[in-house]
Symmetry: C2
Subunit: 784 residues, 2 copies
């Protein structure tokens, strides 16, 4: 489970560390060891690091288009910057003249704390040999105060010396696409210092403030908060302090960084200064404790405990952690970024990943979070309407890459042809239509899991209707075949653009229209006045409903072929060259070539980027026989290149359900390690794609619950058909379903269900063929 | 009108010459100076030349696939090969040790005679300085005996010497795609020698024979037909003769080459030997005279006489000549190749060029030839059915590149990306559907021009019906817009593949379906039993006819936009980057890059390869107002790259009709010079595309008759709205229309019509608004 190339190791089920600095992996490491809270993400970097070490604090809702092409979140000024100097020598973990030993970087993901340290020995002739410092830090993004980052730096003097400390707000930040701050002005507000910046596109204010407390050693000036005269540098506002360290001294610096933008509050300056002052007064320990209490409640919600002979529990926790900190659970108007808040890659924006990969974990544990995510889609419905209209369709065509407004953020050109240097016109933005029905799928499952009809009335129905309108306006009717077809799309497999009748897309479209029809019918009888208003907004009349029905009944869904039971991924797929990914790779002229449409090596072959037909089985296991799924899995799996982090987990879930247990576990392990053990370069086809793969993190929960534990949520209740990996002796997790909670405990030969005493009614629970109704506070145990 | 780069000059209205050998232009020159007769084409090369000088005799109906990818016509062994040696020195026009002067290559295209000559001076020390030979030749492909090529070589000795002559059949031929003869065996049949070859794919026999007569000087051996012992070389069968030349001697060698393939006759060997023997006996002069008499009748048919201040007449004749020799007028089962029989490029096969560019000249002068061409399409209807079925359609989808069977010859990969070395997957073969309705257009016009209902019953109806079936099965119905659309095509502008609702394609499709419906209706009343049989073969019933009608009524034809009157070439075209071709060219990284889809520089811009909307106006001038055509011409013309030889002529015709006379004449001149003054390299994107542009040659006739002379053929008769270029004082041509013949004579201020005395009825002829009915043998003169 660990890569030889990586210096990373697992300390325990809540902690990872690395004990060697690997400059090649610096982008990845910064993401892996990050802290965050759904409002902001702060990369796992040393306080001494700067832009060149990819220090980053990515703040939600700060979308800015600085280069006229790519809109992305801002990397805000770093309010935790710390520079150390002993005598004339820079003290630094990875640069400078000193000798560094005992290097360590850690992440405790139970509480989202990044820590690190190193021992420093001077190498310069001017300094006495043997002068040593032990520098360490700990940092967390607060879950009790989302605009706060707290950091504590400790400097233990093994021998003495004159230490100069510079700390403050470093506005010289790393940015992927353009300079996002057209100006940054420094401010000193009593003890609090900071930078007040304005974004380049709309001039949105972004304020970063810093407060500091010093313990252990008194600085040479009287007032510890009063800075010396630090060098005046552009986009930097530092304070400087000096300490005469004696051997055995321990200097402690607590730094409180706060961030507010004009999108958070009308007066971000006051908010940042006040919070920084308050937090500085509270101190690190108190803030840490308050945040930890929130984490305890979160982990209670997302609890999964696995007894295993391997590192599963640690890796699972790690993945859930990254899903949690990527999710703006605190609000209903922001998306889960495909790279979360780990960096600016993928523009801090949501893809279909959000509904299909990130959301189910929340839906069945903390449905209020799922609700917020779906309300975000409602609040961006007008953006989806604008996209549809711009492309000549009706209804709602959701953005492939969706930020704050729901307008399409996906640029026309995503990758470059490394052989020619020319941009590649990928049609992710205008042809990958399954994003819209995928949202319908999530809405339908949200309602199934919560029975929250109020959500449907206030939000869900309108989205469902507009998505159905879009699908009907996109589809073509083939008169000679008496069927609707969906032409020129990409399914999840993005190597094959310009495909017709992609089975995943067509199936999702039918499902989405069916759901819209169901909701329409129910609203007609329960809430006709509400329906009337929604129908007016969506321009729906009886004729339109007939059109939905007709498309629902006549849409072409490629069926399993008679004998082979194979389902053709799209029209003509089986006629493509049949070659396996490893053999195909020999045709590369450059290892960084993009494999897909229109000129990549895979486009004219059956090699696919990621699960597509298998993805369909993942979402709709009830619609295909096990034999059909087995045969298709066997066919498609070896032809899958898995060049999407979304792919292995989907294979794991489906493999579990169809009895391919070895593959299920092997893909499970692969998926869990995507971020931690990745040695992939952070760029592809000239585009930066580094950062945390939040979709893979989110679906980790599904692999355990939907995959190995065999949980299926139906209209009748919860169905459980587990098959635990032989490495596991037990697995336990909590579920919330239709207002009831329970604890599921599985071993190789038993299933136990504890219904929460607070439940309002009996919980229907079926284990294989056996049905149970578990009363509040009751337990049942079923032997396998 | 002449290019400085070219050594070619116009001698008179029937003859061109070049007086300098230009090795860079050797491929082009060989095509320009070729002779041919619709059965075979023989390139304009010296008798001494070999494969390296692109000697070629391309024979129709010899399609062979030698490399597993490209099927093409064979370049058969050269039965006119002649090698000369004086003493030990090679006598050669362009190679060898001698000094060559008075070099000349000529083509008389009145009678299809290639001739040439040079004066040779030795440079070798062994030979006496001052020994000179004047070598000349003349050659023609016989129009009275299509399997015959005759050549006469003259050697005038200015001073004397021992001349060794080798002549025979050289099977070491140049071939574009693979070796087409798996074997070639030499034979000597009395005086006749030759090679008997078998094609690589099907083993079809191809026999080339040679007979020789010597005049002027007696060879050293007794029997002039008895060879010495020429060197035995593989794939060569030569005879060798020696002559003691004295100053003032003139040696004449007459060579008769014959070709027959197993597709021409059951016993090609006997046929070739017998014809060679007979022609050798007849002698060069007699054969030349017989062929010339056929040419006289042809030119009588295709007569156009222009009095002008420039070289128009010569260039026009030249173009008509190449259209004539490219056309297999003698048979009804062969196509007109896009490069005729000038070389193997474009696989010796027909494109849409055949119906739209080559055919109209025949239709209105020699309709029997047009009939043969259209019967060829009938005989390949099953190939079109196979193509449709293979691609999932019904009916007849004609091959984009059509050879003997009508199966698609167009390879998936036509060009290469010169930047990456990778093949480009052009979709000429599966997306360029307008080929099928273009054939319907030609059938409709054939019937209009001839009233040949028998053709419709025997051939035309079935093609029309199957094309309509194809179109209906290809189209999609958009329910929300209540219209049929045609999705994912290329129009004539091949830079933009994957286009929807290309106006040219949609218009042609509507026209084709309308024609099918008309013919169906008429057959229902006149020939119900015949209709029943055809309907059965085409699986047509009442329901199908309703589908045709519905598509005819509801197909979407992009209309001129309200104020601008601009017609969008395809959905979204006006949204593409608006840039002019010359500016766009700056983006090339390599001058040989292909500009079109999917990654060429033009694909995402409004730069188009060739006339598309303008092409629509060319075919359907009655459907648009002059103002609409003017506005669109003004818009599209500067955005047109004219990288198809089809483009300038179409612009000339449309410009004539809408009063843009300067442009009309300038494009006319450009089009006439495409072959003669072209300095384009013979390859593009790694693909050989040299050879005669027969479509441009064919449409030369249309530029004069449809363009400047303003002739339109309607159901009511002939309409004439001329506007002669100021360079012309008069133009005269013959027309055949509905069985009647006439001579049209135009000057700037008059139109004269002479109706043939043999006509059976009055000829309706309208000049602008004035209608005439001209009785057989009568003339009318109309002042303008």
């Amino acid at each position: 489970m660990s890569s030889q190339k990586s210096p990373i190791y697992i300390e325990n089920e809540w902690s990872i560390s690395e004990n060697r600095f690997d400059p090649v992996q610096i982008v990845t490491t910064g993401s892996n060891f990050m802290t965050g809270n759904g409002y902001l993400g702060y990369r796992g970097t040393f306080p001494e690091w700067e832009a060149e070490e990819y220090v980053g604090c990515i703040v939600s809702d700060t979308y800015d288009n600085a280069d006229g092409k790519w809109k992305e979140l801002c990397n805000v000024p770093n309010g935790l910057y710390t520079a150390l100097q002993l005598g004339a020598a820079q003290v630094h973990p990875t640069r400078g003249p000193g000798e560094v030993s005992d290097y360590r970087l850690s992440l405790n993901y139970r509480y989202g704390r990044t820590s690190g340290g190193y021992t420093w020995n001077p190498q310069e002739p001017g300094l006495q040999k043997g002068t040593e410092l032990r520098v360490s830090f700990e940092r967390f993004a607060s879950y009790s105060s989302l605009h706060l980052l707290a950091q504590r730096v400790r400097i233990a003097a093994i021998t003495g010396g004159l230490l100069t400390l510079s700390t403050g707000v470093d506005g010289r930040v790393w940015s992927l696409n353009g300079e996002h701050f057209r100006e940054c002005s420094a401010f000193n507000e009593g003890d609090i210092i900071g930078l007040n910046c304005a974004t380049s596109e709309k001039g949105t204010e972004v304020v970063v403030a810093q407060g500091v407390q010093i313990y252990g050693v008194t600085p040479r000036t009287k007032d510890s908060a009063e800075p010396l005269s630090p060098p005046q540098e552009k986009r930097r506002n530092f304070r400087q302090l000096q300490f005469e360290l004696q051997a055995g001294d321990e200097l402690i610096i607590e730094q409180m960084m706060t961030v507010f933008s004009g999108n958070d509050t009308a007066d971000p300056y006051s908010a940042a200064v006040e919070l920084a002052r308050e937090a500085t007064e509270n101190g690190y320990e108190r803030e840490a404790g308050q945040s930890a209490r929130v984490w305890d409640t979160l982990w209670n919600r997302y609890f999964i405990h696995i007894e295993s002979t391997d590192t599963t529990q640690a890796l699972l926790n790690y993945n859930l952690y990254h899903n949690i900190i990527a999710t703006p659970a605190h609000t209903d108007h922001l998306p889960i970024g495909a790279r979360g808040l780990s960096c600016q890659a993928y523009q801090g924006a949501a893809f279909w990943d959000q509904e299909i990969f990130n959301l189910p974990m929340y839906l069945y544990t903390y449905p209020e979070v799922a609700r917020n995510i779906l309300i975000y889609r409602y609040k961006t419905l007008d953006g989806a309407r604008r996209k549809a209209e711009r492309l000549g369709y009706e209804g709602a065509y959701y953005a492939w890459i969706s930020g704050d407004t729901g307008d399409e953020l996906c640029p026309d050109y995503f990758f470059k042809d490394v052989l020619t240097g020319r941009k590649i016109r990928n049609h992710f933005n205008d042809w990958q239509i399954h994003i819209s029905p995928d949202i319908s799928y999530a809405i339908q499952h949200y309602y199934q899991a919560t029975g929250d009809w109020g959500f449907i009335k206030d939000y869900g129905a309108e989205m469902l209707f507009e998505i159905a309108n879009f699908l009907v306006s996109h589809a073509y009717f083939k008169k000679d075949k008496n069927r609707y077809e969906i032409i020129r799309v990409l399914g999840p497999d993005e190597y094959h653009e310009n495909a017709d009748n992609n089975v995943f897309t067509n199936f999702q479209a039918k499902w989405a229209i069916g759901t819209a029809l169901d909701v329409y019918t129910r609203l007609s009888s329960t809430d006709p006045q509400i329906l009337q208003k929604i129908a007016q907004r969506c321009r729906i009349d009886g004729q339109r409903i007939e059109l939905w029905k007709e498309m629902y009944e006549h849409i072409y869904i490629p069926e399993p072929v008679a004998e082979s039971k194979l389902i053709e991924q799209f029209d003509g797929y089986f006629g493509l060259e049949d070659i396996m990914p490893n053999t195909l790779a020999n045709r590369l002229k450059d290892p960084n070539e993009y494999w897909g449409w229109p000129t990549g090596i895979a486009y004219e072959t059956q090699v696919i980027k990621q699960a597509d037909v298998v993805q369909l089985f993942c979402l709709h296991p009830e619609s295909y026989s096990v034999e059909t799924m087995q045969r298709n899995y066997r066919y498609y799996e070896p032809r899958t290149h898995h060049r999407s982090s979304l792919s292995p987990a989907v294979h794991s879930i489906v493999a579990s359900r169809i009895g391919f247990y070895d593959q299920a576990y092997s893909y499970f392990q692969e998926s869990l390690g995507i971020d931690l053990f990745s040695t992939n370069p952070p760029a592809s086809g000239g585009t930066f794609i580094g950062g945390i793969h939040t979709a893979a993190c989110g679906i980790a929960w599904q692999m355990v619950v939907f995959g190995f534990s065999g949980i299926v949520f139906t209209d009748q209740g919860i169905l459980c058909k587990p098959h635990l990996p032989q490495e596991w002796s037990s697995v336990q997790f909590t579920l919330h379903y239709r207002g009831q909670s329970c604890l599921v405990s599985l071993t190789a030969d038993s299933v136990k269900l504890d219904a929460a005493p607070s439940n309002q009614k009996a919980l229907p629970f079926q284990i294989f063929e056996q049905e149970y109704r578990v009363q509040p506070g009751d337990s049942i145990t079923h032997s396998l």
